[in-house]
Every structure is written in structure tokens, then in C-alpha cells.
């Protein structure tokens, strides 16, 4: 655990803060901002848990992006899962998904009403369920970014190898780079730099962000989850802005390689292909998700049981879309902390501990 301590040192944090303050001020004098988006939910959580936002100088702001897999899950996807559960199919899911609002209800409410919705801590849990219930169908809710994709793909791989035929996956995999492109294209969104995800980048490689830097001149830094990693990443981004030298830097080289994890990428490619995907708050983005290739359609729950993961509706008061795009911070949503709380989430951003509304509520509420 020496390892963890080493990255949480208070003196180093103060040093980085001072440097950041100087750079921020320099930019402010030129009338420029330092608005950095942390794309990934794990960053959002670490920032909140270690009080990083409060340590930033006034001239620098950190905005949460669309990188929490639960937050971007469409209501229609939950509706589809509910429809399957109502057909007596066993649903296996990561715990966070239980409370994501569908158009009408959540999986947790459905479970309390008697449906079989089982929480798994890893995709293998679904395999065990399928083996223990050979006469039943089991559907695993395959959501997440590039990080969770590989383990779910190996689930399909193992199921096939072991002849498990009563298991399938309802896929809603998302890709990070297309979401960033969509944010850049939105004229109302103002982001000066991206703090890029750690684990996702370990799979896709830091080079995946190269086009953002080259086509849009927006600096990108890949950083780890420790609070000092994050502060350092922000400081480096601010410096690039000050020097007008946007670049791609990888500060997580202990884990992230430029080309990523080739073995995982090959595995993913063998099973999945890019598809258009619906994002809560961002809408449908072309080729921003991954779905099972035709030859694996026996494992594709949407095809196997003919359910649609499109359409759906969410509470009109919810401002999750604006939160996910960094247009507002959670307390600016009129129902934040009043109607919408982690006990009664109205939007998905209030559900997962990585959701920016939940992180704000848990760690920096000021009421």
C-alpha cells in the first residue's frame, strides 16, 4: 500500500496547486479559461473523494464528462431489460444498474416485486447463474466502455466453448472517442482540454486521442486515478494551453501504452462491431457503440428475444444531458438534492457512485 500513499502526498499537492494557480492567472490575464473535462467516471469519483475540485484555483474548473457507463445508459435499455425480466428471464447485472430509471421503473423495484434480477460482481457471475439454472434463460446486461467490453466478450467466448446455450448478452457498449467528437461538435459546449480516462485508455491506447489534438487543437492528457495523478494532469494541460502547444501526453505510461492492449482489441474485434448507439442525454451518436457481430447473434439478447433498446422516455425535469456535456454542474439542475437524491434518483447521473450528480451530492453538497 506504500504505492497508494506515495500518490496522495499533501506537500506535492500543494506544489502542484501553486504551479496551477500561476498558470491559471497568466491565462486569465489574457481573458482565457482553463475548463478541463474529466471524461471518465472513475476520475469523477476520485476527484470528489479526495476533494480535488476544492483545491483548484478559481481560474481552473474541472467538468465531468460522459464517461460513467451507468449515467449514459438510455431509459430504453432499462425498459428492454425489464421486458425480458417480465418474460421470466433471469437478468444478471452489475449492481449499479439496479437503480437506473427506465421510462417507468427500475430493476430494483422490479426485483422487489418478484422478478429475478441478480447482481453480479463480474460477468462470470452470469455464467454461474446460467449453469445453475439450465432450464432457464439468463441475460447479462453488457454495458460499459472499452474496459468492461473485453470481460463480457470473454463471457461469450467461454459460454460458446463450454456449450452454455441459455446465456445471452443485452449489449449497450459505448466508445469514448465518438462521444468526445460529439461534445466538440456542440457549439454550446466549451471545453479547453480533456483529461482522458485511465483504464479505457489502457485498452484503446493513448493514440486514440490523437485526432482530437490534431484536428481540433485541444490538448489531451491521459492520467491515472490517484489524486496527484489528476492534479498533475490538469497542471500539464493548463501549461499546454498557456504555451499554445496542444499535445497528447500520457501520464499513465505505467499502465497505458500508445497502441493499447492489442490482445484485448483483437478479441473485441472478433466478436463486436461498431454500431450506432443511444446515449442518455446526448442522443443517438453514429458508430459510438459496439454490438455483437452477426455470427454471434445467438448470444445477442436483443435479437434472440426480439426486444428493442430504442425509444424510451425520461423525466423531462432531468438535466443529465447538460451535466454530461459539462454545460452545467449538478447543483445547477433545479431538482438536484431536492427531488433528485441517491435514494430517489430521477436521472442516471444520480445513481452510480461515479455519476457526477451522485459524486456532488455525496461529497460536496453545501445545504
Amino acid at each position: 500500500m506504500k504505492y497508494i500513499e506515495g500518490f496522495r502526498d499533501a506537500d506535492a499537492a500543494r506544489f502542484l496547486h501553486d504551479k496551477l494557480a500561476a498558470t491559471g492567472e497568466e491565462l486569465a490575464r489574457e481573458g482565457r479559461t482553463v475548463r478541463v473535462m474529466e471524461v471518465c467516471g472513475s476520475h469523477t469519483m476520485a476527484i470528489a473523494r479526495f476533494g480535488v475540485r476544492g483545491m483548484l484555483p478559481d481560474t481552473v474548473s474541472l467538468l465531468s464528462g460522459p464517461g460513467c457507463p451507468v449515467c449514459v445508459t438510455d431509459a430504453a435499455y432499462i425498459d428492454a431489460a425489464i421486458e425480458l425480466a417480465e418474460r421470466e428471464i433471469i437478468i444478471a447485472t452489475f449492481g449499479d444498474m439496479m437503480r437506473v430509471p427506465g421510462s417507468r421503473e427500475t430493476l430494483a423495484q422490479l426485483r422487489a416485486a418478484g422478478a429475478e434480477v441478480e447482481v453480479c460482481y463480474s460477468p462470470e457471475g452470469a455464467l454461474v447463474l446460467a449453469r445453475n439454472n439450465p432450464e432457464r434463460e439468463v441475460v447479462f446486461l453488457g454495458i460499459g466502455f472499452e474496459t468492461t467490453t473485453a470481460p463480457v466478450v470473454s463471457l461469450v467466448h467461454t459460454a460458446q466453448a463450454q456449450g452454455v446455450r441459455n446465456l445471452s448478452v443485452l449489449t449497450a457498449f459505448k466508445l469514448v472517442p465518438p462521444a468526445l467528437d460529439a461534445l466538440i461538435a456542440d457549439v454550446e459546449v466549451q471545453i479547453d482540454a480533456f483529461l482522458c480516462p485511465a483504464h479505457v485508455s489502457a485498452i484503446i491506447g493513448s493514440e486514440a486521442y490523437r485526432p482530437i489534438v490534431e484536428q481540433h487543437s485541444i490538448p489531451c492528457a491521459v492520467a491515472g486515478f490517484e489524486p496527484l495523478d489528476i492534479l498533475y494532469g490538469v497542471q500539464v494541460l493548463a501549461e499546454m494551453l498557456a504555451q499554445d502547444k496542444p499535445a497528447l501526453v500520457n501520464h499513465y505510461a505505467r499502465v497505458v501504452r500508445p497502441e493499447g492492449n492489442l490482445a484485448a482489441k483483437t478479441l473485441i474485434d472478433a466478436y463486436l462491431e461498431p454500431v450506432d448507439a443511444g446515449w442518455r442525454g446526448l442522443g443517438e451518436l453514429p458508430r459510438s457503440g459496439l454490438g455483437l457481430r452477426e455470427r454471434w447473434s445467438a448470444y445477442d439478447a436483443a435479437k434472440r428475444f426480439s426486444v428493442s433498446t430504442r425509444g424510451g422516455s425520461f423525466d423531462p425535469r432531468c438535466r443529465c444531458g447538460d451535466v454530461l456535456k459539462g454545460k452545467i454542474i449538478p447543483p445547477q439542475c433545479p431538482i438536484f438534492g431536492k427531488v433528485c437524491t441517491p435514494d430517489n434518483p430521477v436521472g442516471a447521473c444520480m445513481v452510480s457512485s461515479e455519476g457526477s450528480c451522485a459524486a456532488y451530492y455525496r461529497y460536496s453538497r453545501t445545504d
Partner: protein, 335 residues
Amino acid sequence: MTTRKILLGHGGGGRLSRDLIAQEILPRFGEGPLAGLPDGALLEFGGQKLVFSTDSFVVHPLEFPGGNIGELAVHGTVNDIAVSGGKPLWLSLAAVLEEGLDLALYRRVLDSVKAAARECGVQVVTGDTKVVARGQCDGVYLNTAGIGVSIEGFELSQGAVRAGDQVLVSGTLGEHGMAVMAAREGIAIAGGVVSDTAGVQRLVQAAAPFAAGVRFMRDPTRGGAAAVLGEIVEDTSIGILLDEQAIPFSPGARAIAEMLGLDLLHVASEGRMILISAPECSAKILAAWKALPEGENAGVIGRVSEDAGRVILTTAIGGRRLVDIPRGELLPRIC
């Protein structure tokens, strides 16, 4: 309540649990000793002050590193009595067994009950056994109720806590919850993590000479230290300021919590206690605790502040954040 069914989260020791009790139990039974929801009821009988408490135990898996459901059932009730300022004396033991339960396992559970009771200085004096059909319970459910006598000098109440008081913990936090979760999910890490399940009655005894300065004691079980501290300050004019670096955590528990994205302040301990004392007594209580093997890692982790209603943590890098009462079930993050 916005939901018309009982959710698993209603049993998690967080906000949902508290809402359920506030809305369904207190209106029916909340007059008399149950008011204020202490861990144990203080009862006067025949000139004696007694402490009475009960607890039910369901844990999966039944055996986990560091213990099994048997010692948990003893420690749970013993600790509720102890932190209410009592010396536990007698326990009842009721078991609901599932048809098909392995007798050897049940023997291990009962042997653990016996050993834990001896260690805590209590006697099992009455009991009951029921068997239900396969599938109607998860192996073994236990319930214990206990009676103790009130220790002279303790005048405990949440309302007595005031700004400037010190917050002490008797040892590392969250090991029980992490040990059970790791066992359940088959997470193996080097060094491992072992449940802290134990009686805290000796720690309470050690604090007794300074009882006049002890404002409040509680064992941080479900909901963890965050729930205990959050409840103290909620709807009051005081707050609590914690220093992350002063809070004892074991490396194993920390590694698993990091991995699952959980906050150890939300995770249950079953052999630790939190004590709030007047500033002039904290050093003496700490010294008395540290002299005991179960108090080896004890420490002062923070103080009572004037930041009304809020528990704030100064993080290891010097940031500040809120410590919230956990809501329901603890759910590991996705990636």
C-alpha cells in the same frame, strides 16, 4: 416512502433503513425506552439498571476469514449492550435452520458461539431451534437477545456531544464488511483481509474510569463509521471534522475497497467502537485502550465542530469532502 415494497436496501443500515424505522416502527413503539433508538434499551427493574438488546444475523457466506455467523451473533448483541454502557451477562440464542444443512457446519457455528460467549463473559441461558424447508432460508439464521447491567457512571446521549469533543475509534475500520464481500465474491488478495469480529466489552470497561467524560459510544456495524457519525450530527448544530490520515485502516481492507470503489467509512466492522469524549479525557481513554490488544490501533480520528449537520473529511492530499450517510446496499462500481 416512495416505494410500496421492501427493497434490499431497507436492510443496509443507511438512509433507507432509517426511514423505514422512522416511518413504521417509531410511530408504533417509539414511546418509552425505544425513543431515540439506542443500541440497547435502558430499563429500571427492582432498583437495578438493566440493558436489554437483540439482533438477528444473516450472513453469506456463513463462514468467512476470521469467523462465522456464530461468533457474529454473540458479538453483535454483546457489543450493543456494551456501547450502551452495560456489562453483558446473559444471552438467548435462536436458530432458524434450513433443511439439508451440513451438521458439521452447524457444530462449528455452535462451537464458535460457545467460545465467543466465554471470551465475552456471557452465558447462553435460553434458546430455540426451528427448521424450515430447503430454500426458505439461507443455511442458518441466528438471533440473540442479551441482558446486561448498566455500568456505574456512564451518562450517554447523542445530545450531550458538543463542539470541541474528540472522536476516537478503537481500531481499524471496515475489515468485517470487506472480509465477507471478498469471501462472497471470491476476491483473493495477497495478505488477505480478516473479519474484525470481536467483543468490545473490555474497551468499554477500560473507558469506565473516565465515564464522566464519555458522551457517546457506538459500534460501527452496517453503514460503517459514516452512518454512526452522520446520525450524531444530523439535524443538530454540531458537525464532525475527520482527518483521513488519522483513521486506521488495514492494508488488506484498503486494497479491496479500492478495487471495488467502496468507501471504507461506509463498511461494517463487528469488533470496533467509536467513542466521543470530552477533550480532557481523550488522551486517557486512548492510553487505556492502547494497553489492550484489541485497542492496539486505536486513535483520535477527528473532533466535533460547529459545522452544523455535516461530517467533513480532510483528505490525505489536503482536500476536503463531505462524508455522507450511505443509502442502502453497498454496490461495487462497474469499472
